[in-house]
């Protein structure tokens, strides 16, 4: 089991901790940015619909 993982020396826990931090921080940034962009776009679209209704 887990044979696909590289065999690292006694400092393996530190190495995995660093890559885990990278995954969490960069992955979190990607998810946060994409969600923010989607929310901004749909807010603008809702506003455009309101604008059309008003005019």
């Amino acid at each position: 089991m887990m044979d696909f993982l590289p065999h690292l020396d006694k400092n393996a826990a530190y190495i995995w901790a660093c890559y885990g931090l990278g995954l969490v921080l960069i992955g979190g940034a990607v998810i946060g940015v994409v969600l923010k962009a989607r929310a901004a776009k749909s807010a603008l679209e809702r506003m455009n619909v309101s604008d059309e209704d008003a005019s």
Partner: protein, 245 residues
């Protein structure tokens, strides 16, 4: 100046970033993945650098490069806004700040974890490299807090631009801190006046990983800039609707 104005057009930026951002996401992911595969599986461990722990380099060093490069980009965008008042330059500076803070935090966290088995400590308060990077994180956070505290977009842009430009002095301090002051951190081994001191087997995966992080960062900045443009357009529409009501 004419070319700068052409690129500073939000319509043109939205059209350009519509295909450029997905391309950067894809290329960035491929290069980061390749760098991780090389770093974890392929490159030989370096006993002189403490064995396998040097594999942390493939995430720590790109994070450090991005931390400094992103602050420099934020300072340049702020300067551009300050002189020419291009709205897109302010939008770019605002978009860079949270992402720059993320990569700076990653640099600090991975550096700390790398430091424990290498130097026997998580942190050294009188170390010039560590403290100047921590100060960089505070500059990013301070920039965001300062903007958020202002009651108008113009005031936020002006105050943020001044802080970003003044804080730019910290970037060369970070780069040369290991040469000018006593530090646990090793000297520069990639960007030096004599060229890279690192063996090619480590250098190429590191450079590709750095390029991958840069492309991903660029894609994220473009996405945040698009979000900010849409937000500002929605605010203008809302104001127009309210004025017409």
């Amino acid at each position: 100046m004419g070319m700068l104005s052409a690129f500073a057009n939000p319509h043109r930026f939205l059209a350009l970033s519509n295909w450029l951002a997905p391309l950067f996401y894809a290329l960035g992911a491929v290069l980061i993945g390749w760098g991780l595969w090389q770093g974890l599986y392929i490159v030989p461990k370096d006993e002189y650098q403490g064995g396998d722990i040097m594999r942390v380099m493939f995430i720590h060093v790109p994070a450090a490069w991005l931390a400094m490069a992103s602050y420099s980009a934020m300072a340049v965008a702020s300067f551009t806004w300050f002189i020419w008042r291009h709205e897109l330059a302010d939008i770019a500076a605002k978009a860079i700040a949270p992402l720059g803070a993320t990569w700076t935090a990653l640099c600090l966290a991975t550096g700390s974890v790398w430091g424990k088995p290498t130097w026997g400590t998580w942190w050294q308060w009188d170390d010039a490299r560590m403290m100047s990077v921590l100060f960089l994180l505070f500059l990013f956070l301070g920039y965001m807090a300062l903007r958020a505290a202002m009651d108008s977009r113009q005031k936020a842009a002006r105050a943020g631009a001044i802080l970003a430009m003044v804080g730019g002095l910290n970037v060369p301090l970070i780069k040369f801190s290991v040469d000018m002051f006593t530090s646990l951190h090793q000297d520069s081994s990639v960007i030096t006046s004599e060229g890279p001191k690192m063996a090619a087997v480590y250098l190429w995966p590191l450079l590709m990983s750095g390029l991958g992080h840069s492309l991903l960062f660029g894609a994220l900045v473009m996405t945040l800039m698009r979000a900010e443009i849409w937000t500002r357009r929605a605010a203008r529409q809302r104001a127009r609707l309210l004025a017409g009501a």
